[in-house]
C-alpha cells in the first residue's frame, strides 16, 4: 500500500507530462488533484487503520521494493519505512498537498502551462513522499535532490520572466552547496557503519558509541552530524544558506505554499529528527543547530518587518519559523520540532494561499503598498487570513501557540545546552515571537485594512477586486479550521496538571531519540508545571500586547518607511555576490580560461563568421605557433613529472 501511495502522483505526473498538453483544464485538474487525493486517502488509511492501533513500540511498517545497489559490503534497497515520524509527515504532506492542489486549480486557470504545472506538482509530491518514506540515506537523497529539482522547475514556471529563471538557478545552486555536505555525510556514515539503512545505523549507534561526544569535541559523530546539517541549512533555508528562499517566491503562489512553506523546506528538520539518535550523541552539533536556528529565527523576523512584497514577508516568516524548529532540535526537543512543522504547515499554507487569493484578485499585484482595504471585497479571504495571523503570532488557543510554546519551554529547560544558553536562546525565541506578531500584523493591516491603494496605482482602468471562487476559498476554510485547532493534539500536560499527557509527543516519541541529561544540569522535573504555565502566560500576554500595539501603530501610518538596512536584507545578497560569486566567475574566465586555455578558435570563429576570414585567421595563428605553445605547456608538465620521478623518486628510501 505504501508503494501505491508513493507511486500514484508519479504516474499522474507521467500521464500529464506526456498527454496533458492537449487536454482540457478540467481533466488535467481532475487527474492532478485526484492522484494526490488518492495518496491522501491511503495515508489516512495506513495511519489510522494500520499504524495507530499497534502498540507504540511496534509502529514500524517496512516495505522493500527492489534492490538498488549491491556492491561488496554496500547494499542499498529501494525500501519504504512507515513509522510514527514518517506517518505524521505523510499525513500532513498529502493533506496540505491535496488542498493546495485544489486551490491551484483556480489559481492557475488560464495559464498556458497548466498541464506542465500539475505534472511538476505531482512529481514534487512523489519526490517528497520518497524523501519521507525512505528507509535509508541514499533513497532519502534521491527524494532530497528530487524535491529540489521540482522546486527549481516550478520556480522557473514563468520561464518568460528572467527574474524567475535566475531565482530558480539560485535556489538550485545554493541547495547544491548544502548537498555537498549532505553527500559527504552519507559517505562518512557508510565508512563508519558499513550500512546506510536508518534502522541499522541508528540501532547500532548506541552500542558503538555509548558516550555522547562532549561540547567542543569534534569527533566522528560530530563531523557526520554537522555535515548532514550543512545539507539541512541548504534545504531548510538557515544561515548561511537561506538566501535562496525569498527569491524562490518568483514561482506561482501555490508552489510557494506547498514547497517553500509547508513541506519541502521542512525536509531538513525531518532529516535531523530522523537522525536524532546521531544528533543526540553530539552535544557540539546540537549546540550549533540551536544557535543557528535561534539566530536565523531572529534575523529573518527582523527582515520580515521591512519587506513590501507580501510573499517576501511570508518567505522570511517561513525562514524564521524554520529557525524555531531547528532551535527545538538543537535543544533536544525533536518532538516539539516536528509538532511545529505540522502546525506551521497548516497556518503557513493558509497564509500563502490567502496571499495568492489576494494576488489573483488584484491581477498579480504583490506589492502591499498597492493593496489595502480588501476586507470588504474579500471577506472570506480576510476571515481565514485572520486565523492564520493569530496562529502564527501564537495566541492561545490557535495552533501556533501550543507548538511555539512547547519549543520555548523545552529550550528554557534544555538538558543539552550549556548554561546559560538555554535561557539566552529562549530570550531570542521570545523576542522573535513578538517580532512575528508585529510583522504579521503589519501584513494584515497593509493588505486588508485602511484605505484602498490599488485603484490609484492601477493604470488606465479601475481595479475592482472580487472574492475568489469556491475552489480557492474552500481550501482556505479547511486550512483555517486546522490553523485554529491543529495545535490541540499536542497540548502540554502542564495545562491539565499532568493528568493528560501530550498526545503528540507520546505518539512520535518511539521514533525519536531521547537526549542525554547533563549531570550538572537541573533535571526537568525540578521545573514545575507552574513555571511552564507562568512563562506561557507571560509570552501570550506579551504577544497580545504586541498585536494590539502593532495594529494601532501600522493603522496610523501603514506606509511608514522601513529601516534601510532591514529593507535591503542586511545586504547579505550583495555581500555573497561580491565575496563569492563574482570572484569565482571572474577567476574562471580571466585567470583559468585566458591563461591556461589559449583559446584559438573561440576568438576567431564566433557564431557564423565568414569562413574565409576566419580560416585565414586560424592559419595565421597556427603559423605563429600556437601548437608550439601547447607543446611547450606539455613539455613543462612532462619535465615536472619526470623530474619528480627521477630526482625525488630514485632516492633510496631513508628507512
Amino acid at each position: 500500500m505504501l508503494k501505491a501511495l508513493v507511486l500514484s502522483p508519479l504516474i499522474a505526473a507521467g500521464i500529464l507530462g506526456i498527454f496533458g498538453r492537449r487536454w482540457s483544464e478540467r481533466l488535467i485538474a481532475a487527474i492532478g488533484c485526484g492522484s494526490v487525493g488518492f495518496s491522501m486517502l491511503l495515508a489516512f488509511r495506513l495511519f489510522f487503520g494500520d499504524l495507530w492501533p499497534r502498540p507504540p513500540e511496534q509502529r514500524v511498517i517496512w516495505e522493500p521494493f527492489f534492490s538498488w545497489i549491491a556492491s561488496g559490503p554496500l547494499r542499498v534497497d529501494w525500501g519504504f519505512q512507515l513509522d510514527a515520524l514518517s506517518g505524521v509527515y505523510i499525513l500532513f504532506v498529502t493533506f496540505v498537498g491535496f488542498w493546495i492542489h485544489v486551490f491551484a486549480v483556480g489559481y492557475m486557470r488560464g495559464d498556458p502551462g497548466y498541464a506542465r504545472f500539475f505534472a511538476y506538482m505531482n512529481l514534487f509530491m512523489f519526490m517528497m513522499l520518497v524523501l519521507v518514506l525512505a528507509d535509508n540515506f541514499l533513497v532519502m537523497f534521491v527524494g532530497w535532490e528530487g524535491v529540489g529539482l521540482c522546486s527549481y522547475l516550478l520556480i522557473g514556471h514563468y520561464f518568460d520572466r528572467a527574474y524567475a529563471a535566475s531565482a530558480a538557478k539560485k535556489a538550485f545552486i545554493v541547495n547544491r552547496i548544502g548537498d555537498f555536505g549532505f553527500a559527504l555525510g552519507i559517505i562518512l556514515i557508510f565508512a563508519t557503519f558499513g550500512t546506510l539503512r536508518f534502522s541499522e545505523v541508528m540501532g547500532t549507534i548506541a552500542a558503538r558509541f555509548p558516550e555522547p561526544e562532549a561540547l567542543g569535541e569534534i569527533g566522528l559523530l560530530t563531523t557526520i552530524a554537522l555535515l548532514l546539517f550543512v545539507g539541512a541549512t541548504g534545504k531548510s533555508a538557515q544561515i548561511p544558506l537561506y538566501v535562496w528562499l525569498p527569491d524562490a517566491m518568483a514561482g506561482p503562489t501555490p508552489v510557494s505554499a506547498l514547497i517553500h512553506a509547508a513541506t519541502m523546506v521542512t525536509a531538513g528538520v525531518y532529516m535531523v529528527a530522523r537522525c536524532s539518535d546521531l544528533y543526540a550523541r553530539s552535544l557540539t552539533a546540537l549546540f550549533v543547530i540551536a544557535v543557528i536556528g535561534g539566530m536565523t529565527a531572529l534575523l529573518a523576523a527582523t527582515i520580515g518587518l521591512a519587506q513590501w512584497n507580501i510573499k517576501k514577508v511570508l518567505a522570511y516568516s517561513t525562514i524564521s519559523q524554520l529557525g524555531y524548529m531547528f532551535l527545538a532540535c538543537g535543544a533536544g526537543a525533536f518532538s516539539a520540532a516536528i509538532f511545529h512543522v505540522v502546525t506551521h504547515a497548516f497556518f503557513k499554507a493558509l497564509l500563502f494561499l490567502g496571499a495568492g487569493s489576494v494576488i489573483v484578485a488584484l491581477h498579480h499585484e504583490e506589492d502591499m503598498r498597492r493593496m489595502g482595504g480588501l476586507k470588504r471585497a474579500m471577506p472570506l479571504t480576510y476571515g481565514t487570513m485572520l486565523c492564520g495571523w493569530l496562529a502564527i503570532a501564537g495566541l492561545p488557543p490557535f495552533a501556533g501557540f501550543f507548538s511555539k510554546d512547547e519549543i520555548l519551554w523545552r529550550t528554557w529547560t534544555s538538558p543539552v545546552l550549556p548554561e546559560p544558553w538555554g535561557r539566552l536562546l529562549w530570550a531570542i525565541g521570545w523576542a522573535t515571537a513578538l517580532l512575528t506578531a508585529a510583522y504579521m500584523t503589519r501584513l494584515i493591516v497593509l493588505t486588508f485594512e485602511g484605505e484602498e491603494r490599488f485603484a490609484r496605482s492601477a493604470e488606465g482602468h479601475a481595479l475592482v477586486p472580487r472574492e475568489s471562487p469556491p475552489v480557492m476559498t474552500i481550501p482556505l476554510l479547511v486550512l483555517a479550521v486546522l490553523s485554529v485547532s491543529g495545535g490541540w493534539v499536542g497540548i502540554s500536560e502542564a495545562y491539565t496538571g499532568g493528568r493528560i499527557a501530550n498526545e503528540f509527543e507520546q505518539f512520535v516519541r518511539p521514533a525519536l531519540a531521547r537526549v542525554p541529561v547533563h549531570s550538572d544540569h537541573l533535571a526537568i522535573a525540578e521545573f514545575g508545571h507552574g513555571m511552564e504555565l507562568g512563562l506561557a502566560a507571560v509570552t501570550a500576554l506579551a504577544v497580545l500586547a504586541t498585536l494590539i500595539w502593532a495594529r494601532r501603530f501600522y493603522r496610523r501610518d501603514p506606509l511608514r518607511p522601513a529601516p534601510r538596512l532591514l529593507e535591503n536584507k542586511y545586504y547579505v545578497d550583495e555581500i555573497y555576490e561580491a565575496l563569492l560569486v563574482r570572484p569565482i566567475v571572474r577567476g574562471s574566465t580571466v585567470l583559468l580560461w585566458r591563461v591556461f586555455d589559449v583559446a584559438i578558435i573561440d576568438g576567431a570563429v564566433n557564431g557564423v563568421a565568414s569562413a574565409v576570414a576566419a580560416g585565414a585567421a586560424v592559419l595565421r595563428r597556427l603559423q605563429t605557433g600556437l601548437v608550439r605553445s601547447y607543446i611547450v605547456m606539455i613539455l613543462i608538465g612532462a619535465l615536472i613529472v619526470l623530474g619528480y620521478f627521477v630526482f625525488v623518486g630514485s632516492q633510496f628510501p631513508a628507512r
Binding site: 591556461f596 584559438i600 623518486g649
Partner: protein, 493 residues
Amino acid sequence: MESLGINYRAIGPELVLTVTGVLVMLLEAFSPGKKVRDGILAAAGIVLAGVAALALWEEGPVTAFSRMVIVDGFRVFFTLVILLGTLLTIFVSWGFLDEERIPPGEYFALLLFGAVGMTLLVAGNDLMILFLALETITIATYVLAGYRREDLRSTESALKYFLLGAFSSAFLLYGIALLYGATRTTNLAEMARVVSGPLGQAEIVLLMAGAAMLLIGFGFKVTTVPFHVWTPDVYEGAPTPVTAFLSTAPKAAGFAAFLRVFSLTFPPLGIESAADQLASHWVAAVTAMSILSMTFGNFIAIAQTNIKRMLAYSSIAHAGYVLIGVLARDWAAVAFYMLVYTIMNLGCFAIVALWARRGDERVLIAEYAGLGFRQPLLSFPLAIFLVSLAGFPGTAGFVAKFWLFKSAWGAGFPELVIIGVLMTVVSVYYYLYVVIVMFFREPKEEVPRVPLSRAFVAAMVVALVGVFYLGLLPTRVFAVLNTAQNLLAIGQR
C-alpha cells in the same frame, strides 16, 4: 622456450572487427555510397565482436600469444564498453554522413579499425602491444577528426591532434624503452614480478624515468591536466559525431591501459621493493593530476560559450574523477564509470550533433534558447544526460560517482573524495546553464524543427534506457563486475 600460445579465440573480438572493417572498405571500393548496407554490416560486426568477447567471459585470467594478450573479466568488460561506444557512434553519425556527403564505407571502416586498436589496448599484456594498439587508435582517429576536409576548423583540429599525438607517442615509446632497460622485459606480468623485489640504483632511475614517461603518455590519451591542452581545440574542431566517439571509447580504452600498467603492474606492495618505491610516487603524481583535472576542468567549463568546448572541459573534469578510481585501484568502479560516461556523453553529443546541423554551425550554448518546449524530444533527453553528467541521484551518473567515491574513501583518499564532491557541485553550474537556456530563454529567431532520423531515435532510446537502468537497477552489472574482480584477484595471486 615457452610455446607461442596461438589461440585465435583469445583475439576473437579483434579478428571479427578487423574482418568487418576490411569487408566494409572493400564494399565501398566496388559499390560506393550504400550507407544502409555498410552501416548494418558494421553494426553486425560490432555485435558479433561483442558475442566473441562475451564468449571469453568464462575463461578466467589466461594469456595467449606468448603472454602478449590476456583474457580476463577486466578486458571483456572494457571491450564491451568500447563496442557499445562504437555502435552508438554509428547511430549518431547517420545523418551527418548524408549531410557532409562522406563515403559511408570508408567512415565506418575507420571507426571499426579504431575499435580494433581500442579492444587490443584493453587486451594487451605487453607494453609493445599497448603501443601498437595506441598507434592503431590514433591513426584512425586522426583521419576521423579531419573528416570535414573543406572546413578549416576540422582540418586544424586534425593537424593539432596529429602533432601533439605524435609528441605524446614519443614519450610513450621512450618510456617503454626505459622500462625495458630497467626490467629487461616488456611483458607486464613479468615486469610486475621483477619490480616486486629490490632493484639496483641504475635500474631504479630507469624505472622511474620510464614510468614517468608512460604516465605522461597516458595522461595525454585520457586528457588529464596538464596534458590536456589539445582536448578543447580538437573536440571543438572535429565533426561532432567524431567528437562523441573521441570523448568516449578511446578514453575508456586509455583508462583500461592506465589501470593495467599502473594499478595492476606497479601496485603499492607494502614491502620494500621497487614497485613500492615507484607506487608511492605515481600515486602522488596521479593525485596531483586528478586534483588539477577536476578543478581546472570544472572551473574553465563554466566560462565556455560553445557547447562542444564546454563538454570538452567537462570531459577533462570527468577524467579527473576517474583517476580517483585508478588511485583507489578499483578497476571495476572505473569500468562502471566509463560505461556510464560513454552512454551519457554519447547521448549528449548525439543531440549536439543533430542540433548543430550541417557544418557544425549551431554550437553556441546561446543558440539552444527556446529549444525547451518547442522540440521536447531533443531538449528533455539532453537535460537528462546533462543532469546525469552532473551526478544527479536516480540517474546512472550518480551511481557511478557514488561507487567511485565510496571506493576511494575506503582506499584512503578522503581528501580526493571531498574535492571530487565539491567539484561535482561546481559542475552543476555549467550543466544546468544549458538546461536554463533551453527552457527559460526566449530565442532570438524562430526555432526551426529538426527532423529526427530513425538511427538517432535508436541511439536516444539506448542511451536513455542505459541512464535510467544503470541509475535505478545497477545491481546486475555490479554483480557481474564484482565476480570478475574476484576472479582477477584470484588469478593475480
